[in-house]
């Protein structure tokens, strides 16, 4: 299968959906000529024109509100928030408006929209450009939350998100954009709410999101050499969550390590741990381990940044600790 970059997969997904459905359009900062800060809209202005690829003022509340208004009129906007950190500026529109109008209006509201954004650390972008805030959005009924880890997943999930009738908060990781991977040439989608076992294993289950999937696979490969067999499960969508796939793995291995780039406290891993501790209680042979960012704003210094963000070795260390406990 041909291999393309993650960011190219994102572009393709939008291009295909825009070609397929003329109600799909894009809005965001610097997505037109510039092709987006991380080149995720390159070429779309040329293909679809200025009406459907709309540069906005720097107005995140405006962007999300406009997406919602247009959705209510029957369009399918895909809004880009340049960094997930800036979602804080638009939080009212995302949480109090987008997520709730369907319910508040008694079901009579069209809210088919996607908010695409980009998060995560690893580029020395410091505390306001490197957060992982997915837990906030999972905590909000009315939103769906997607975090793809491969080009193939990114494309298939984004296409599903655009076709979905609910608001989808779609989080891409800045370090993944330049990762290459196989992506089918033919039209395909990946349904929201379906996890994928990225690697099968027997001894422990690693549930990893976004950038931590790749690091976990590397960790699993190293652990394999020591005779440890890890199963790596990528939920892909944090809500709706495919609990069955994840819990089946946990029941099989009896040990669970959860890893994400967000800080540990009140991160999504807490929810995952709480679910597993409850629903696989009798199958757990050891306490659940979480491998997450240290509890600090993200520092600028690369040395400190890579210290606070979990890496392959942290996953390996976590796995070893998990295997050592009775």
């Amino acid at each position: 299968m041909r291999e393309i970059l993650f960011r190219e997969a994102i572009v393709e997904a939008m291009a295909e959906e825009m070609a397929r459905d003329e109600t799909v359009f894009l809005l965001g900062e610097d997505i037109a000529e510039f092709g987006g800060s991380y080149k995720t809209t390159v070429g779309l202005l040329e293909k679809f024109g200025r009406e459907r690829v709309r540069n906005t003022p720097i107005s995140e509340q405006g962007i999300v509100g406009a997406a919602l208004g247009a959705a209510l009129m029957g369009l399918r906007p895909v809004a880009e928030l340049m960094y997930i950190d800036f979602s804080a500026v638009a939080m009212d529109q995302i949480v109090n408006q987008v997520a709730k109008v369907r319910y508040m209006f008694g079901g009579k509201a069209k809210t088919a929209l996607v908010i695409r954004t980009q998060g995560g650390a690893g580029r020395s972008s410091a505390a306001q450009h490197a957060q992982s805030l997915e837990a906030w959005f999972v905590h909000v009924p009315g939103l769906k939350v997607v975090m793809p880890s491969t080009p193939r997943d990114a494309k298939g999930l984004l296409k599903s998100a655009i076709r979905d009738d609910d608001p989808v908060f779609f989080i891409e990781h800045k370090l993944l954009y330049l990762q290459k991977g196989p992506v089918p040439e033919e039209d395909y989608t990946i349904p929201l709410g379906v996890a994928e076992v990225k690697r099968e294993g027997r001894d422990l289950t690693i549930v990893a999101t976004s950038s931590m999937v790749g690091k976990s696979l590397q960790a699993a490969a190293e652990l394999e050499k020591e005779g440890v067999s890890c199963e790596v499960v990528d939920p892909r969508t944090l809500f709706p969550l495919d609990k069955e796939t994840i819990l089946a793995s946990v029941r099989k291995t009896g040990r669970l390590l959860i890893t994400h780039e967000a800080v540990q406290r009140c991160g999504w891993g807490a929810e995952m741990a709480a679910i597993a501790a409850r629903e696989a209680f009798d199958h757990l042979d050891a306490p659940i381990v979480r491998v997450c960012a240290k509890e600090t704003p993200v520092p600028f210094a690369p040395k400190l940044e890579s210290h606070v963000i979990p890496n392959k070795d942290d996953v390996i260390a976590g796995a070893r600790a998990l295997l050592e406990t009775a």
């Binding site: 509340q61 999300v64 208004g69 008694g106 079901g107 009579k108």
Partner: protein, 323 residues
């Protein structure tokens, strides 16, 4: 110029009465303990909703506020569904899940009251964008208060509408207060309409107690929007005759004194007199309007009272379109 025909004038008059009576009855019901939650009454400001909405078709859209009943009535929502919503009944516009601050009906072009001050403004811009992208000729009117004009959402929403020349009209109902905070202490600008200058769009102040003036001003702005010439900011100077919410006497912050002079300009009385002078509506006919509206009101209340409460299972529907 938009001429006020007799038919429109009568519609506006009756609409104002319909708003007033809806509010008065709601307050009674609320005070009798029949309605849960809280209410923000629109009494005193009827000329704005009626004067603006007189120009709108069901396909034109509005966004509204916590003080939204007037806009809803003027936009054609029915008493039955509105009362039912206030009663938290299943037959309400939002099946009892939204209440006073979230009444909405997309079929009639109401994109929702809103509990977040200023929250509807960017949504209105977006709806106008949606209309534009679909090639429609409809417009979106966003209602909000003087207090709301200090929110970032106001700035971002109107700026967006202005750069994209969207078919939107922004109507600031300047009643001189944001809850207890008098306008002079929450903004230093002379007229809210001056804020239009920040977006390179027309800004007009109008007497919000005079429905004919509102009708004319709104007519021009809406016509501009329909022609694709972009948004307008209208400031209607008005006054709520009651406290911020039902139960607030307005005494703590000088509203009680301020309101006295405004009440002398009650839009329903003044416009009634105007219509009488024009010989468009005699005193007796005014009584007929009132009687007709009252009957309708009671039908609405009865409908609501007779409607079922939501089922417990309703609590968990309408969160997602599909899961």
């Amino acid at each position: 110029m938009t001429e006020l025909t007799k038919a429109k004038a009568l519609w506006i008059y009756e609409t104002m009465v319909r708003i007033r009576r809806f509010e008065e009855r709601s307050i009674e019901l609320f005070q009798a303990g029949e309605l849960p939650g809280f209410l923000h009454a629109y009494i005193g400001e009827e000329a704005v909703a009626a004067g603006v909405c007189a120009h709108l078709t069901p396909k034109d859209q509005i966004t509204s506020t916590h003080r939204g009943h007037g806009h809803m009535v003027a936009k054609g929502l029915r008493y039955e569904g509105m009362f039912a919503e206030l009663y938290a009944r299943r037959t309400g516009y939002c099946k009892g899940k939204g209440g006073s601050m979230h009444i909405a009906d997309q079929d009639l072009g109401v994109l929702g009251a809103n509990g977040i001050v200023g929250g509807g403004i960017p949504i209105a811009a977006g709806a106008a964008l949606g209309i534009k992208l679909k090639g429609g000729k409809h417009v979106v009117v966003s209602f909000f208060g003087d207090g709301a004009s200090n929110e970032g959402a106001f700035h971002e929403g109107i700026n967006l509408a202005s750069v994209w020349k969207l078919p939107a009209v922004f109507v600031c109902e300047n009643n001189g207060f944001a809850e207890s905070t008098p306008r002079a202490t929450h903004q230093a600008v002379r007229d809210v309409a001056d804020r239009a200058k920040a977006y390179g769009i027309p800004g007009v102040s109008v007497d919000g107690m005079d429905p004919a003036a509102v009708y004319e001003t709104a007519g021009e702005a809406i016509a501009r929007a329909r022609k694709g010439e972009g948004p307008t900011l209208i400031e209607a100077k008005t006054m709520r005759f009651l406290g911020h919410y039902v139960g607030d006497p307005g005494t703590a912050y000088g509203h009680d004194k301020e309101v006295v002079k405004w009440k002398k300009r009650d839009p329903i009385l003044a416009f009634g007199a105007f219509l009488e002078k024009k010989k468009w509506l005699a005193a007796k006919e005014r009584e007929e309007v009132r009687a007709r509206v009252n009957a309708e009101i009671e039908r609405g209340v009865e409908f609501a009272r007779g409607s079922p409460e939501p089922d417990l299972s309703d609590a968990l529907t309408d969160i997602y379109a599909s899961l």
